[in-house]
């Protein structure tokens, strides 16, 4: 199924912060994330930025589901990434003849809407420590791999990006992660490689860890 998409798609390898077009000659477009991570972000006149959602490998992006391009932009947040791009009509034609693809796409889009809703709940109702914990739980679920002393994962965002995602400030994010390190919950090697030594403790700090697990499990089932 993926190979049929690949054969009709344009493969793009954007570098960090490179923008991806959300339209192609008036046609809506669809992106399939293969490696790295993308962020859909809203820019403000005053220079502030809010990341609306982060797309990991396996996720899709459909440009119709965002506010005007004047407000929002899609870009890579990892040093490098790989995405496949199709025009919407091309994808639609492909999906029309492939009900499994259709179903996969629906379920991916649905999951994404659920994650958007989750994101609002996290930003709106949690304090800074809880937000960071929720973010780490999500990353661990999406990108984590069990290793000797816990679960290892690479955070594909800079502290500033994490802050923009969580509606916090980079300094605050750094402070909270230092605290987690001091408590022995997190171990860090280099800037982005983390090992969570105590997943239970991390989860207990996120009021939404159960919901995050549920969303993630549903997504895994679909793939």
């Amino acid at each position: 199924m993926l190979s049929s998409i690949h054969s009709r798609a344009v493969t793009i390898r954007p570098r960090r912060y490179q923008k991806l077009a959300v339209a192609c000659e008036a046609d809506e477009v669809v992106y399939f994330v293969r490696a790295g991570a993308l962020a859909l972000s809203a820019g403000l006149p005053n220079g502030r930025r809010q990341i609306l959602s982060i797309l990991y490998p396996g996720d899709v992006f459909r440009s119709a589901l965002t506010p005007s391009p004047a407000l929002t932009g899609l870009s890579a947040v990892t040093a490098s990434a790989e995405v496949w791009r199709l025009r919407w009509p091309t994808f639609e034609a492909l999906a029309a003849g492939d009900s499994a693809l259709q179903q996969l796409f629906d379920s991916l889009i649905t999951d994404q809407a659920a994650r958007l809703a989750m994101h609002i709940a996290i930003i709106g109702s949690l304090g800074a420590d809880e937000r960071v914990a929720s973010f780490l739980v999500e990353i661990a679920l999406r990108l984590g791999a069990p290793v000797a002393g816990g679960i290892a994962f690479e955070i594909p965002l800079t502290r500033t990006d994490i802050a923009d995602y969580l509606a916090l400030n980079a300094d605050t994010v750094s402070r909270i992660m230092s605290r987690l390190r001091a408590k022995g919950v997190l171990a860090q090697s280099g800037r982005s490689l983390m090992i969570c030594r105590d997943m239970k403790a991390l989860e207990s700090q996120s009021p939404f860890s159960a919901a995050l697990q549920q969303i993630c499990a549903r997504a895994r089932r679909a793939r």
Copy 2:
């Protein structure tokens, strides 16, 4: 087109805070809001609540596009409301034979995703005054009617609901609205009826007023 929906739908008139089922015997459901307003909200273990989105007359709600029912709930926020409910399979069959309906539904769902994204941007990147201003601009656009001294609209939410929507605190919302009243931007009669005497001033306080207008215009065109 609406009458064909109406004839297949169950009409419900929920009272304030009455919950609406997001599933009907394992079937997904679709709601069409006809009067009043609904809120999709997430509840937290600690009793806090976050309203994810507000649905006004003309909006639709599809239960697949939310996280687990354990986390979120749909309920009326006005004293009374009217909604039409259909099971997803029923609606799907109806839409299959009516491309205009299909198109309308798509565009309503799309608008809603855009509004969710907008909501994240508002909550995440704006200060309290800007959030309230944005909310009032949105309400004025959706529900406002021009009258002698400005634009009149009825706020269909309590202060607490507004606070839960904007990720603020009811006291703070009240304080900000008092300030707007003192500045002569807003006039109030009773608890919920407002007249905005200076729309320009209000818009200038919301960095997203242009984007809100765009979303609203697009929605109006679709209807």
